[in-house]
Symmetry: C2
Subunit: 507 residues, 2 copies
């Protein structure tokens, strides 16, 4: 496509803007990632100073009047049908992102950044000391700020809905309500039935001592098995496992090694490797513009849960995991029966900690957070009610007693970081993932056969074509529709859970 | 000191400028450091894209007309005696740095960056393939560009002098000529005398296999022994050892592990730890402004060579090194006689490779480069003459035959990166270091006794007070004068070399 003069000039200006946006994001990401992987303790302050200034530069860039007129020119060009598809998508995303920055007064945004930065430190101490009282006033201020910030973004909408949409574009409370209601109807009786049965598979086959260096070498080979391009990936250690992937040619996957447990790192690596697969699969032509990265948190989570659970906790894949484990921990796994291993890593049992929960009870942990967040945002409950609400719901949905706030509402860092509305994307992602799985099978991909052969390439090819390559150029709803032929439908997920766990527990 | 209104406002604007300059430098340093330590191969391109854009932003910031008027206001205030000492130093350094950027047309600077970026890639291949011809045209373009760029900076000065001054502020050719002439007079006869003697100490006591992980643990403990604050230091691995320290609270030291040689990493770690000591010792109040970092390349090198050689290759320190080696490599060093170890790590022998040269012959390697650089910049020699000039001088000064260009003029990366004029700072730093050593002793520091006791704290305290704390606020000549009571004098260095090696070789 050739453009007329004013359009060409505006596109060049947009490219310059994108170049600087990319560079600032690359710098911020690199600095944050170093903070989690390798920075020494005293680097906290200089890192914070540098980050605050770079964020301010990013804010200035996004709000600059120069880019406004460029976007206006391009919007006119688009209306006259003068932009190709990619440029239209880019224009749409840049305008949307810019609006997010413009909505917020710079000083309120800076105050909120300072508040959450301090609250995160307070939360860390509070969690260590099992001390809700010290954290409560910070959480109150965060909720108040988030209500006010939501009003700037959209004065006519409910504040919680604003934040749901922030983390998953186009998501709504009715959609989540339906999803969680379906999940509750499916999972609560399943969990009750399992408890009634009174039988649980043994985890004895997983026990052992797994040396640190061997676990890191295993993590590397596991990512190769998963299909990652290791020439574009850093594998490292951090307190909390994460992945990061701003461009297709460079991503990070971290894990946390516990020498008494290799399975924890195994599934965490497969999970983060799923995120990294998505990042690596984005069309490289989108790398240096706002269309790089993933469509949404939910879609990203669909890819991580896909590799962690639908591949990694699939019985057909177990022999490949056992072979790799045996290679790195000789003698530990040679005698393990694949079926026993499969049962051990799928033991469904109510527990206290979300990040350690099994595949079946996991969504109930998220549901509890989703319900509490709504109560607090609507004013039906106060921040001070959270520990009580937490204990009541853990008892009611999972049947467990919460012994202290550290294993209760202080277990996750999200709220201290101002991430109300984020949790539901974890479950939405799992549900998206099953819909992708069913669509892939309908498209003729022999999923179970391929997993059994350890040949993930055709599976990755389907995901790459339908999801990964598009980066941010398709919004989640459109991506799901185009990839699967239907709008999002939670029944794929509940059917998956029901079939899998009925079979495991002979229900 | 309180300031009048316009001064106060200008200082605030200067602080804002410094904040952004710091953040851009922090980002650039972090990205470059990651590139050397951990980035995967494919990250080269996105890293380069991000760096190019951030460098352009830095150039824009430095050349912005807004900061010019701030500096004018502050210059007036300084003339009226309205600025305190630190602000005066800051003003001086920012004005000088800004002039460096302003002198160069942005497009010429960008072209030069592109040229050296490409030339570095060409050099790597050329070195691997022992292929001077492919590199020669790039080196010709680099020399031509550097002559042109020097003319922008100072049209009336000799181009090579401009670059000497670039790397060591205030340095001049007469100063270096005197230094190298003194060194030649001292070292060449010493080397000849040693060869006449026909005896060399054995290095047998260093031989062995030293496991990778143990070497990294040893490196950590060695830095603790050297006196580094490990809460402010990252210890990592890279192909070429380096250190980086933008702020006192966060620095990097890397080493390269060869399992057949522990001494190479030992001295490389002590060397980089010397740089890191300097960075950690800068007054933290200078951290976020242009006065952070070190005074010059030469002063920085004086600190690295101080810990590598004047402490680390000092016979009195050997028992502490042996104890630490024995801790990490049990059985290897228990029977080693300290005197034998001392002799082994001080064996003076002409060789081909600068970075592997001993303390005595090292300055001759640098001298050869200094002489060739001058011939090429003056036009007395062509770039195509370099291999011949190199061989002639290595034969004449060191008595060695250069078998190929890879072990000859292609061994160092500096020229491909446009760093003509940089090499001499290595030797100047060694010489500064001996002057500091003598001054410290005159000030009553019991250097040899402290080193023998492994108590480096009083030595570090002297260096901290006289050198480290000042950051860039004192230029090298002033720093040397203030610290030692005299101007730079190369006789400290030649006397040191003469005494040490006459004693070792019984000359």
């Amino acid at each position: 496509m050739t453009y007329e003069n004013s359009t060409t000039q505006a596109l060049e200006q947009l490219d310059t803007f994108e170049q600087l946006r990319f560079a600032l994001n690359y710098a911020i990401t690199t600095i944050v990632t170093n903070g989690e992987i390798s920075d020494p303790p005293l680097a906290t302050e200089p890192r914070g100073e540098a980050l605050a200034t770079l964020e301010t530069e990013l804010h200035k860039l996004m709000c600059a009047p120069e880019i406004a007129s460029v976007l206006d020119t391009l919007t006119e060009a688009a209306e006259q049908g003068l932009l190709d598809e990619r440029r239209q998508a880019q224009l749409r995303i840049v305008k949307r992102d810019r609006a997010e920055f413009l909505d917020l007064p710079a000083d309120e945004a800076a105050d909120f950044a300072r508040l959450t930065n301090e609250a995160t430190q307070v939360w860390m101490r509070a969690k260590r000391n099992n001390d809700w009282a010290s954290f409560e006033p910070f959480l109150e201020r965060i909720v108040e700020s988030m209500k006010r910030l939501a009003a700037y973004k959209n004065a006519s909408a409910d504040p919680y809905d604003v934040w749901l949409n922030e983390y998953e574009y186009g998501s709504t409370r009715p959609m989540y309500d339906q999803l969680f209601s379906d999940i509750k109807d499916c999972v609560v009786p399943l969990v009750a039935d399992i408890q009634k049965k009174g039988w649980q598979p043994s985890r004895a086959c997983l026990e052992g001592h797994y040396a640190h260096d061997a676990q890191m070498a295993f993590a590397h080979d596991l990512l190769v098995l998963e299909g990652l391009n290791m020439d574009a990936l850093v594998v490292a250690e951090s307190e909390h496992p994460f992945s990061e992937g701003l461009v297709s040619q460079c991503g990070y996957v971290t894990t946390h090694v516990n020498e008494n447990d290799v399975v924890s790192s195994l599934y965490s690596v497969l999970h983060e490797g799923g995120h990294a697969s998505y990042s690596q699969g984005v069309n490289p032509e989108l790398d240096y513009c706002s269309l790089g990265g993933g469509s949404s948190m939910g879609i990203h989570e669909s890819q991580s849960r896909f590799f962690e659970n639908y591949v990694g906790r699939n019985e057909a894949f177990v022999p490949h995991l056992l072979a790799l484990l045996e290679k790195h921990f000789p003698g530990h796994f040679a005698q393990v029966d694949p079926h026993d291993f499969f049962l051990a890593v799928n033991r469904a049992e109510p527990s206290l900690i979300r990040t350690e929960a099994d595949e079946l009870t996991y969504p109930l942990h998220v549901l509890i957070r989703y319900e509490i967040e709504q109560l607090v945002f609507s004013g039906e409950a106060q921040v001070s009610d959270i520990p009580r609400l937490w204990s009541e719901r853990y008892k009611s949905y999972l049947g467990v007693d919460v012994p202290d706030v550290s294993s209760g509402p202080l277990q996750d860092m999200h709220w201290s970081d101002g991430m109300f509305g984020y949790f539901p994307t974890y479950v939405l992602g799992s549900a998206y993932g099953t819909q992708f799985l069913d669509a892939m099978k309908s498209d003729g991909v022999d999923f179970d056969g391929l997993v059994a052969r350890g040949d993930l390439a055709p599976i990755r090819a389907w995901l790459g074509e339908k999801i990964w390559q598009h980066g941010r150029s398709k919004d989640p709803a459109q991506l799901v529709l185009d990839a699967t032929g239907s709008a999002f439908d939670s029944s794929h997920y509940t059917r998956y859970l029901e079939q899998k766990f009925s079979s495991i527990y002979n229900l």
